[in-house]
Subunit: 197 residues, 2 copies
DNA sequence: GTCTATATCCCGATAGAC
DNA sequence: GTCTATCGGGATATAGAC
């Protein structure tokens, strides 16, 4: 399943990431992880204390990767609107859902402060990052002063997370795109008339 | 757990609804349902073919209830904006998430056409219902013609679904409210200047 | 580090007595 | 309609050999 040059702990973490994404924490068993990683029972428990420990390593890595990806897009060139647009239109595995956001629906993740922490931190970071861009756009006169950066940023993040829900419900990525199109139209309407990019 | 006047099948369905809401399909076992309902093993399998059969009855009822609740709010008085605002601000058990939307993150629900159908139908119905209101607002000159009803309606539904994600991530209903506030500000900006309610 | 064996419990269901 | 018994398998480890 993985390159022979990848160490056993590494294969275990990567396997856990994929299974958490596909089936969630509750739906992922140690046995399934071992089979996916091509590792034995004893091997897994030698490197990790148990399922929660391994899941924590996997979730942390997924969270970090998501922050890096988002930061690269949001830190690009262009107006505030353009950068938010880039983020909203970036390529996504829409039907698989958000590997971080989906964990909020996992009762065992939410019940554990340790497992939930990377999720909270990542979504908070993303919202603040976008809020900063909205604030920039506002001070440049691109957006109306009426917009509250934190509120708009929350709406942007929520639309993406909810877009995944609509896509998975309908079985088509188009539902995600439709929600994003609506948000972009609303954001465009909130731009001040003079300055267009 | 329930009134003695509720029949066993009824208690089983209601218990399943609550457990599906709290723990999802994968995280809900027949045994847990039986204990919650105060019913025995044999009793459950007498009234229902198995876990999927019982879950289907529970999901259908939850979906129907959600449509009725939403329809009551969306069919109220006032401008298009006012009715969408009422929907967005209606009371919710925010930290528990959406009992319908959360099912889209359940791999076994998505894998089953029968179990997924009520979810798809409900979210589609909701989007169309809201799109009709946006269309009304547009033809009344309340909203810019630039708004595409289906797109805006998808954004509204997505913001709500994503709002649940943000709330559960942060452990506070306030995150939901923030996203809604942002959306309402954007919708307000898309209203045509002359007609205000 | 990795393997197999073992343990205890739960899962989802069936069978048949009452 | 409800109960208990039973089933084959999986969940989540621990123990100890190699």
């Amino acid at each position: 399943m993985y390159s022979v040059f990848m160490s056993t702990p590494e294969r275990l973490i990567e396997s856990t990431r994929e299974l958490l994404w596909e089936r969630g924490y509750v739906g992922t068993s140690p046995k399934a992880i071992q089979q996916h990683a091509g590792a034995g029972q004893g091997s897994m428990y030698h490197h990790f204390a148990g399922k929660p420990d391994l899941a924590l390593a996997a979730i942390r890595r997924t969270a970090e990767e998501m922050r890096a990806t988002a930061d690269a897009v949001l830190g690009g060139d262009g107006s505030a609107y353009a950068r938010i647009e880039s983020y909203l239109l970036r390529e996504r595995d829409v039907l698989k859902g958000c590997p971080v956001g989906r964990l909020t629906m996992d009762p065992d993740v939410i019940a554990s402060d340790e497992l939930r922490a990377p999720v909270t931190e990542t979504l908070d970071w993303l919202r603040d990052r976008i809020a900063g861009i909205v604030e920039e756009g506002r001070s440049q006169g691109e957006f109306t002063d009426a917009l509250v950066p934190q509120d708009i940023a929350s709406t942007v993040v929520a639309t993406v997370q909810g877009g995944y829900v609509l896509a998975r419900s309908s079985g088509s990525p188009a539902a995600f795109d439709t929600a994003v199109r609506g948000l972009l139209a609303l954001l465009a309407a909130a731009r001040t008339p003079p300055a267009r990019s």
